[in-house]
């Protein structure tokens, strides 16, 4: 991990990555895949490994500027949100 503030940096801490493919939820499709940003709507996410407890799942959309929007989960199954 590299932390940089102006000309000062710190690399004391490290983060260890494990293979996330086995446990990660997988997304196979989004519907719709694009939308007017000024319009609220419902996004269907199809995949696997979502679980069934919405309190344990967070869904975010990020725009090209890096701004992150959190979505509300209306309904969840292990394969569809």
């Amino acid at each position: 991990m590299n932390i940089q503030v102006g000309a000062v940096s710190n690399t004391n801490l490290s983060f260890t990555y494990t293979d996330g493919s086995a446990t990660a939820p997988k997304i196979s499709s989004l519907s719709p895949s694009s939308s007017n940003p000024a319009k609220k709507g419902v996004l269907n996410i199809t995949g696997s490994g979502f679980g069934t407890n919405s309190s344990q799942v967070n869904v975010f959309l990020a725009n090209s500027s890096g701004k992150i929007y959190q979505l509300s989960i209306l309904k969840i199954t292990d394969t569809l949100m």
Binding site: M1, N2, I3, Q4, V5, G6, A7, V8, S9, N10, N12, L13, S14, F15, T16, Y17, T18, D19, G20, S21, T23, A24, G66, I68
Partner: protein, 178 residues
């Protein structure tokens, strides 16, 4: 000089301005959350400590009453009492009313504020990224645009930041390991 759309204005009265170096910072030190400093010509300025305003790293440092020859101010603090200071070299901005800002004298060294990383609440996770972890330390800026954190060469997304704590999402990584 005043210009309007690139056109210099004409002077029709008193338009000259003379810069005067009336005072400068002659000493600077930090102890706990107290900044001690001296200024040149303190008695000839005919001022009291209430004439002085100090800003450190963009935050007000409250000037304590006392001798004009040995000035101190109290920095804003974190919840544990440590001063809120951002990593790097610190020279406070000392404003003397009505004279202006006292710049640092040639013999004054800035205070070096270290960037300290103490711990990560979660230090292992999947290489898909997106794991929320809390970084504890000190010297962090209060504005997340003034810091960058990379893990596995990729930028982490900062959720929230304070002088001593950053909550971040780990980025994706193409490999496993450290």
């Amino acid at each position: 000089m005043v210009t309007v759309n690139g056109v210099p204005s004409l002077c029709q009265g008193t338009c000259s301005y003379t810069f005067m170096q009336v005072s400068e910072i002659t000493s600077l030190s930090l102890s706990s959350s107290t900044l001690s400093f001296g200024i040149s010509n303190p008695t000839s300025l005919n001022i009291t400590s209430s004439s002085i305003t100090v800003t450190a790293d963009g935050l007000p440092c409250t000037v304590n009453s006392g001798s004009i020859s040995a000035l101190t101010c109290s920095l804003q603090t974190n919840s544990d009492g440590s001063p809120i200071l951002i990593a790097g070299e610190l020279i406070p901005i000392v404003y003397i009313n009505p004279y202006g800002i006292a710049g640092p004298g040639s013999g004054v060294s800035p205070i070096n504020v270290p960037l300290i990383a103490k711990s990560l609440s979660v230090s292992t996770g999947g290489n898909n990224g997106g794991l929320l972890t809390t970084l504890a330390g000190s010297g962090f800026p209060l504005d997340k645009t003034q810091i960058s954190i990379t893990i596995c060469g990729n930028l982490a997304t900062i959720s929230s930041i304070s002088n001593e704590q950053i909550i971040l999402y780990t980025p994706i990584c193409n490999s496993t390991g450290v």
